[in-house]
């Protein structure tokens, strides 16, 4: 049991960035945090593609939704707007995934552009750091019955929260930076 625990902890820490006890984020550390944050965004992208796919079984989609939800800080929301209206429609993350799963297309193809932009990290009053990663998603939905083919490209601005945490391993206190996803702004683009 103890071995399993240590193994789990090791895996957990390998996905985090171990650091010395200090609060400032150096350029090198920022780069390491960016990589970790990008991994989470990649996971989210993968999950969105699976949830949106019509080939995914209902039970599997629900399991993936659980995994996707775990990437987010509690209460995170998706704010969606279209080209026609800049007004933002708000959805809880789970609700957004459920809507994505329930889309009435026979074939859905979600792909991502090979580009991302990562902001600087800014410190909040509570000491946590916040940043934004921007990615672009291409959605294509086809309805066989009506022959309708819907396409759009959306820009996703994803909040990341970066927090220094501590854990005990074999009696030693190890500090590491953990990344959680936060609110996501989804904007339809003209591309």
């Amino acid at each position: 049991m103890k071995n399993k625990f240590i193994l789990f902890l090791g895996l957990f820490l390998s996905a985090s960035v171990a650091v010395m006890a200090q609060d400032n984020i150096s350029p090198a550390r920022k780069q390491a945090i960016d990589s970790l944050a990008l991994e989470k965004v990649k996971d989210l992208s993968k999950y969105i593609s699976i949830i949106g796919s019509k080939e995914t079984q209902f039970s599997e989609a629900n399991r993936v939704m659980d995994r996707a939800e775990e990437l987010f800080a509690p209460g995170a929301e998706m704010g969606v707007s279209s080209i026609n209206t800049q007004e933002i429609a708000y959805y809880k993350v789970r609700r957004y995934f459920e809507r994505l799963m329930a889309l009435n297309y026979d074939r859905v193809n979600i792909t991502w552009y090979d580009i991302q932009y990562i902001s600087d990290l800014e410190r909040q009053p509570d000491g946590r750091y916040v940043g934004v990663i921007t990615v672009y998603q291409r959605f294509e939905g086809t309805s066989i019955e009506t022959g309708m083919n819907y396409k759009d490209t959306t820009k996703k601005d994803i909040t990341i929260y970066v927090e220094k945490k501590q854990t005990q391993i074999a009696g030693r206190t190890i500090e590491f930076w953990d990344v959680m996803l936060g609110d996501v702004r989804v904007t339809e683009t003209s591309a």
Binding site: V41, S45, G79, T111, Y117, D120, E122, P125, D126, G127
Partner: protein
């Protein structure tokens, strides 16, 4: 002509520097350069303006890096940070601004944490059952261990005519010997008058934000959504500019300068009053 060539060369450099790595596995779509060229975040506007990142945005430059705030890099960026499609900014004015900003003796930079820039956020609230627009003027302030955005002012149409204080001989008043009567005539101010603001000092200015917050606490105001956003900058000495988001096809997209004004004496205060809707 030379300038157009420079802009084309810069955009070409951006396109040819499209990063190979993407967020997805194989099957990702290759950006044709449009998203790379787009100023995707206001953070990128700051970095490009200051010359603090690579042409394709994948490398952040820090003090000590050879290209950090490099003048040719900044010049390339500044030329693509203007809305070149819909805003009618004169090339001469843009050149003067770029020259001031890139001055070798006294270059100007934007600073995220420094005062002198504001967000103007268009929002929709439901006020007493009716959908109403509210404009929030917001600014960055330091707080606790870091920084936060705070509301500095609200512009809300239903409050506009709430206080309409008459002036001069037409207005109701408490006569100058009211004190001798123990201010018994306050009844005129608070019961008989529909304009109790008539009885306030010349210096009185209604605090609309306080009323706005009060109405919210009384559950008369409910936030619905955000419908627009732009930024106002006064950080470059002698200049004001506005930054808007342009979501359209092409390479000149994202957060771009849409309005530029060279400031004369008193102009800054006039523009600020206009933004804060106090004129």
């Amino acid at each position: 002509m030379r300038k157009i060539f420079l802009i084309i060369a810069f955009i070409t450099a951006i396109i040819s520097n499209v990063p190979g790595q993407g967020i997805g596995s194989p099957g990702t779509i290759k950006d044709d350069g449009r998203f790379t060229a787009s100023t995707k975040q206001l953070n990128q506007f700051f970095r490009r303006f200051n010359g603090e990142e690579s042409v394709d945005g994948t490398v952040r430059y820090y003090p000590g890096d050879s290209l950090y705030r490099n003048i040719p890099l900044r010049k390339g960026f500044l030329n693509i940070l203007f809305d070149n499609q819909t805003s009618s900014l004169s090339p001469d004015l843009k050149n003067q601004f770029i020259q001031t900003t890139l001055s070798e003796v006294y270059p100007h930079y934007l600073n995220f944490h420094r005062e002198g820039w504001y967000a103007e956020v268009e929002t929709i609230f439901v006020f007493k059952g009716k959908r109403e627009k509210a404009t929030l003027i917001m600014k960055i302030q330091s707080e606790g261990l870091g920084y936060e955005w705070v509301i500095d002012q609200v512009i809300f149409e239903p409050f506009k005519n709430l206080f309409n204080k008459p002036v001069g001989e037409q207005k109701d008043f408490l006569h100058p010997l009211s004190h001798e009567l123990g201010f018994m005539n306050l009844r005129r101010a608070f019961q008989d008058s529909n304009l109790p603001e008539s009885f306030t000092a010349n210096s009185y200015k209604p605090d609309y934000l306080a009323i706005f917050l009060y109405e919210m606490k009384q559950n008369n105001l409910r936030f619905e959504t955000v419908s627009g956003l732009k930024f106002h900058f006064f950080q470059i000495q002698g200049w004001y500019f506005e930054v808007n988001q342009f979501n359209r096809p092409g390479f000149n997209t994202g957060w771009l300068i849409s309005n530029l004004v060279r400031l004369g004496p008193g102009d800054k205060e006039t523009i600020l009053k206009y933004i804060y809707d106090q004129e």
